[in-house]
Symmetry: C2
Subunit: 422 residues, 2 copies
């Protein structure tokens, strides 16, 4: 067994340049929502090269709408394929899903980027660009791990199912479609950017929209109106108070080093249409974190009730209550016991490669792990090489060394989890 493990290490060292080249190509494709197909074409090309059985399909609304967990901001997934590659085992071993999303969030304010967001520049051992860390770097680690197994002619007992999915950033419809299509396994790894921490638990989250009313007036007699912008300021403060209250309740030791375990993020604001008019409506959209083990419905109710208490602070809201809607995406929270054998197996490979113990924490964000665990009933760990703090940031980057370490750790755990056929 030592020889196989050593040869995996050597193979990954020898194929660093190929890995970097692959990640560059991925990052150079701006695979924001609806624009995933060019990046998926590169996945397909790579899976053909490795020699996996390939499944490419566009999820359909008809099928997904039957699922209670389904959420989307889209009308259709036309032109946005999922891609799955299967490495069939010899039988008698445990199967493993390796899942990564291909979609990236928009690049935001270009002025804050030192380089163009899709240039994929490499400097000082880091590769820069939108998606480098979240999570195309993780995907490359998976592909290298599988390729190493294949090129070294290692025969696994259990199946390995690689999934390159759309829609993680807006609620997990891509991974849900994989479950609906019948992909199951005894365990799953998602290499989201965890700074190489092991996350057996993940925060869930969901999107909300707050509509705040004012009363319009000419700006020159603005005292005759009520500014929805000023009222929105009260709402922002009130929501931040709820965030504080909810986080004071979190005592899971896995969250002890995280400043805000379940954040409420106010992501966008929009209101008013004319500089000389008092704005009569402001809409705020945001994301509410849900604790592992918390019911989504409980969290929803808590926000709605809290927003209802605004009227105690400001009578305006008695007459014009803020409307709360839930829309678009949600990510289910997820919990795996830290004693589960999947955690043990991954920990062992981690120790073997890194020569120290992994940090085991709870994730500050939802991932497709919620779908795999809650809907697919597949024990799932989130563990990957990306830099957590750079996800969704300008100048997003990944440290290339950790990418190759992750590839090695995952390849080794595949041997142990799936078993090797002599």
């Amino acid at each position: 067994m030592v020889d196989i493990r050593e040869s995996i290490r050597a193979w990954i060292q020898e194929n660093r340049q190929e890995g970097i080249k692959l990640l560059k190509r991925f990052v150079q494709e701006a695979s924001t929502q609806g624009n995933e197909k060019h990046a998926q074409a590169i996945v397909v090309e790579k899976l053909r090269q490795i020699g996996l059985k390939i499944d490419i399909w566009e999820p359909t609304m008809r099928e997904l709408r039957k699922q209670e967990a389904f959420v989307t901001t889209r009308e259709s997934f036309e032109d946005s394929p999922n891609v799955v590659g299967v490495l069939k085992g010899r039988g008698g071993g445990r199967s493993l899903i390796l899942n990564g999303h291909i979609d990236v969030v928009p690049e935001g304010d270009l002025a804050q980027w030192s380089e163009a967001p899709y240039s994929a520049v490499v400097r000082d051992g880091k590769l820069y660009g939108r998606g480098a860390t979240d999570m195309k770097g993780g995907n490359v680690a998976l592909l290298l791990a599988i390729q190493a197994i294949q090129e070294l002619n290692i025969s696994l007992k259990g199946d390995v199912i690689f999934q390159s999915v759309i829609e993680e950033e807006s609620g997990g419809a891509g991974t849900l479609a994989c479950i609906v299509r019948g992909y199951k396994a005894d365990g799953a790894i998602i290499p989201e950017p965890t700074n190489m921490k092991i996350f057996p638990k993940q925060q869930g989250s969901m999107w909300f929209r707050l509509t705040i009313n004012g009363r319009s007036a000419h700006g020159g007699t603005r005292y005759e109106g009520v500014s929805a912008i000023e009222k929105a300021m009260n709402v922002v403060t009130h929501v931040l108070d709820l965030e504080k209250k909810r986080n004071e309740r979190i005592n899971d030791p896995l969250y002890q080093h995280i400043p805000i375990p379940i954040p409420i993020n106010l992501g966008s604001i929009k209101g008013g249409s004319w500089p000389s008019s008092v704005p009569d409506e402001v809409i705020i959209e945001g994301r509410m974190g849900v604790a592992p083990g918390e019911q989504m419905s409980h969290a929803k109710q808590e926000l709605q009730t809290w927003i209802g208490t605004l009227k105690e602070k400001d009578q305006w809201f008695e007459q014009y209550p803020v409307q709360v809607e839930w829309f678009g995406a949600h990510w289910l929270p997820s919990e795996l016991d830290v004693e589960h054998e999947l955690v043990q197996t991954l920990t062992k490979s981690f120790q073997e490669v890194k020569k120290n113990d992994p940090v085991i924490e709870a994730s500050p964000w939802g991932t497709d792990g919620g779908m795999l665990t809650n809907i697919g009933h597949i024990p799932t760990i989130v563990f990957g090489p990306g830099v957590t703090e750079m996800a969704h940031f300008p100048n997003e980057y990944i440290e290339l060394n950790t990418l190759f370490e992750a590839a090695e750790i995952i390849a080794l755990m595949m041997l142990d989890w799936c078993g090797v056929s002599e």
Copy 2:
């Protein structure tokens, strides 16, 4: 002379239904910026009926760009004509411009309107709809006054120049174009909605844009970013402090009953693009009031300096200062001595019709009076029948009785100002 004055009163009484019908037609044309031509066609039809010499033209950028006072949010005025009708006097009298704008502000949140905004419903002596008060009702008062003079075969000595202008709501390019085209007079009346108050002074105003920066991050680790929405809240509070400071300085007795003589209105806010990302930019657009007699440049400098002091309240703004831009519209402030003969003449007609003294105040908003006074050097009063508080409001309306009173007052003051040829 008593006979002429009495017959004007009688004529207006007899033509109330025609006036209401005309106002309905005007309100039913949604003459927002760029969509003025159908309402202007009704003006032209009416001027032909009255028998005035008509001038219709689309202002050109080439000509207006030479004017320092010119501001616009548009690329072109194609399809947005100005209309002027001239009632030539017999000579030897003072000329008078009667100026009204045909453009209306957008209707805002439809849910706040009881009736469709352009339905022009009449109920309990009020006509409802966007533009009813600001200022199509005033325009109808002008047209009725002129028509009364014409149909009663009264020959005025001085010229009367009726102007139906575009672009008042975005900075006065229409009235500026009239001045550039050569229209001059010894005095001017603008029947903006003043609640029948006489405004010899008007507040100026100008539009600004504030760009507030944050730093993006994933919403699940939002503590790694800086929310531009939260930073924008500090900016809103800071701007409201400046408004307070500037208004404490105003001691003109004409402003004594106005809660905020020169408001700073924050009209729109927009920032962030994704519920699960920390927003890295918020843009606020607003309108700054300028006191009669205050230099526009002084007011600009004061806002810019004030915004610069944000860094004393929050170090973030040291590194990421809020950017201030001036864009789109401005309206020059305007001052006419309350002893000016135009004020006296209008006051006399007012007393004759209303049997009491007019309220003489300073306006809380800019009008095209700034252009007429500062650029055309034409003494100008703003006086009209609309309801100040309903301008730019949902459920905007005008009280029809005051419309006919204003028509009578203006017709009578035309006799006195222009002189009657026997």
